[in-house]
């Protein structure tokens, strides 16, 4: 599992990264691989929500590709990682981010 949210200022997708920071890059996401780690991530989610530093933090399942890069399991999260599939000039994909993620 990883945790994502929307940034307060512009609503852009951000990932919960080590040290309690938030990153626009999927590769920076803290991955919870065990049930105990997922429980800890849920605690961090509730705390982030209470602090209000981001909007709508939520956990979602993630896998890895052959190169070991993180790939969100559900197509909704893959679309969030890229941007609108009908406007490749907008969202993280426009900056070349997450090019290894495909729908």
């Amino acid at each position: 599992m990883i945790m994502s949210a929307n940034a307060l200022l512009d609503g852009a997708v951000v990932y919960y990264a080590p040290g309690g920071s938030w990153s626009p890059r999927l590769a920076d996401a803290v991955v919870a691989a065990t049930e105990a780690e997922a429980a800890a991530l849920e605690v961090a989610r509730a705390a982030a929500e209470a602090r209000g530093e981001v909007v709508e933090p939520e956990l979602s399942p993630v896998g890895t590709d052959e190169a070991g890069r993180l790939v969100p399991s559900h197509y909704r999260e893959r679309i969030r990682a890229l941007g609108p599939t009908i406007r490749r000039d907008l969202g993280p994909q426009a900056r070349g981010e997450h090019a290894h993620v495909s729908l």
Binding site: N6, D10, G11, E56, S73, Y75, P84, I86
Partner: protein, 558 residues
């Protein structure tokens, strides 16, 4: 067009100042997200998948060129240079930054616009026939009624915390182009036997997860009694509508659960108790509002324009446009033009800021400075001289807005779907693009005739799929986008909900399935004058069912 008086202007300015402070308090941490969310929603600011989204109200879809230019400026300055016209005749910006929104609202207020009542459990922006005031089949312009309701309902304290959102539509014509039967309240302007003008009142229509056709609860309501009668309906709903379950909170569920007769009895009982004269609008105020919608100064022109006829004979592309995108105007020598915001392969309803400015220029030059946003996600120039149509069309060609498909199979309604929307379960726009591309040939589209495809990316049905002649609903089936197809929906005066054709299919299979449905129709229609909807009504769904099966299985069966 309606012009703000000092009260309208003050209300909007105060609201912006209030929201500016609320945003500042969210940013400095004095407001929690939980506290802030209802405040931002009351100002039309949503959070979507990739960014915030600002929904700007376009009351009954009417705009002037100054307003559209301002929307283009806002899209350029604070967003990504485009906007999306919605099925509620509004405009959505998909990328505003939170801190900029108060400035955007100020810029809107400069041109008498706002985002109030575009979200939340209140009476939403009132919609109307996009050919209001010009349609040849009209009894009366519905916009004065819509504006009266807007003024009555705006920030009305009694109706600011309804069980759920509440949508009202008004039409004044014989043909219902405002889909009034699928609104919480639908008003049809009608004439009684004595020749008086009043309202037929429908209540309890709606789409979403429990689609319903509205029930007539008053066949003829005298026009002077409108607001008190609406207030009686709202009171019954406010008191008895369900607040225990969000999915059962719309008025359609109340009407359905207690029955139409019991609902009518409750409304009439409430109505009898109301102080009608205290609630109803002063006739002088009604007349003041109506005066703003007086028609422009039309010229006296012959019904036939020689220049227009000659241009059609000369230029087949123009002739095709003229055959599809013109609508009969009540004044001889004039027409209303539908500008399709559905170029083949483009996202339905998305207009760039350049296109908005081009449309504003054309409205100013050729259409008495007026535009309409349609619930079909197109733009109407309502007052164009036939003599000017060719020059206007040439300008549309330059702006990439000349697609001759109004009302045809590629004039598809599609909600934003999972490309933007946080509620979506599947994408809508790529499906619309794939279907439009497959049916791109204009001649074939003309052969198929009037056919409205409507696509929603979740059961909330913003894409009106239930009332699409062909409706498409995108769902998440075990982590894969899956699409259900319905046939036979009708948003008009013979309102009907589409019936499911069969099990859902994958995204890649949708264009092929639509093609086979259309081929079946072309094969079995009684003639070129039998529209798709009439064929479905005549033969039912069975002849269309094989269209959903993979082609190989049909070949095997044969």
């Amino acid at each position: 067009m309606y012009r703000y008086d000092e009260f309208d202007a003050a209300v909007v300015r105060d609201r912006v100042a209030q929201f500016r402070e609320q945003v500042a308090r969210r940013l400095d941490g004095s407001l929690t997200e939980e506290e802030f969310t209802p405040l931002r929603l009351m100002n039309g600011l949503y959070l979507q998948l990739h960014a915030y989204m600002l929904r700007i109200a376009v009351p009954y879809g009417t705009l002037n060129s100054r307003q559209l230019r301002q929307l283009a400026m806002i899209a350029d300055r604070w967003d990504r240079g485009y906007g999306h016209f919605t099925t509620r005749q509004n405009l959505q910006l998909n990328w505003p930054k939170l801190a900029d929104v108060p400035d955007i609202l100020d810029a809107l207020a400069e041109v008498e616009m706002h985002c109030i009542q575009t979200s939340g459990n209140c009476i939403r922006n009132v919609t109307a026939d996009h050919f209001a005031g010009v349609a040849a089949d009209e009894i009366e312009d519905p916009r004065p009624t819509a504006e009266l309701i807007r003024q009555w309902s705006t920030l009305h304290p009694e109706f600011s915390f309804l069980p759920r959102k509440f949508k009202i539509a008004v039409t004044g014509a014989a043909r219902d182009r405002a889909a009034v039967a699928v609104h919480d309240i639908g008003l049809r302007i009608v004439r009684n036997e004595a020749g008086e003008v009043g309202y037929r009142v429908l209540v309890g229509g709606g789409l979403g997860r429990t689609p319903m056709i509205g029930k007539v609860i008053r066949d003829f309501l005298p026009r002077t009694e409108l607001l008190a009668f609406l207030e009686a309906i709202m009171r019954v709903y406010n008191l008895e509508g369900r607040r225990d379950n969000k999915y059962k909170a719309r008025i359609k569920i109340l009407v359905h659960e207690i029955g139409t007769d019991a609902f009518i009895a409750r409304v009439e009982e409430e109505y009898a108790k109301l102080d009608g004269p205290g609630v109803n609008a002063d006739p002088a105020e009604v007349a003041r509002i109506a005066a703003y919608f007086a028609p422009p100064a039309y010229e006296t022109l012959p019904a036939v324009s020689q220049g227009f006829e000659a241009a059609k004979a000369r230029d087949p592309d123009f002739a095709r446009f003229a055959a599809t995108n013109l609508f009969p105007h009540k004044i001889p020598g004039y027409t209303a033009i539908t500008v399709s915001v559905k170029p083949i392969g483009a996202p339905p309803g998305d207009a760039s800021s350049d296109q908005m400015r081009a449309l504003a220029d054309l409205a100013e030059r050729y259409s008495a400075d007026e535009l309409r946003i349609t619930h079909v996600q197109n733009v109407v120039l309502p007052h164009v001289k036939l003599d000017d149509v060719h020059a206007l069309w040439s300008a549309l060609v330059e702006a990439g807005l000349e697609t001759p498909n109004a009302g045809l199979i590629t004039d598809i309604i599609a909600c934003p779907g999972m490309d933007y929307c946080a509620l979506a379960t599947a994408r809508s726009i790529p499906i619309a693009q794939a279907i439009a591309t497959r049916f791109a040939d204009a001649e074939r589209q003309a052969l198929i005739g009037e056919l409205g495809i409507k696509i929603s990316g979740c059961i909330n049905a913003c894409g009106h799929h239930h009332v699409g002649v062909i409706g498409i609903l995108g769902l998440d089936k075990a982590g894969v986008e899956n699409y259900q197809i319905t046939l036979g929906g009708d948003p008009g005066e013979q309102a009907a909900l589409g019936q499911r054709l069969g099990p859902g299919i994958d995204a890649e299979a949708v264009p092929e399935a639509i093609e086979r449905i259309v081929d079946t129709y072309l094969e079995i229609r009684s003639g070129a004058d039998e529209a798709f909807i009439d064929t479905v009504r005549r033969v039912g769904l069975d002849p269309f069912r094989p269209a959903l099966q993979p082609r190989e299985s049909i070949l095997e069966a044969a």
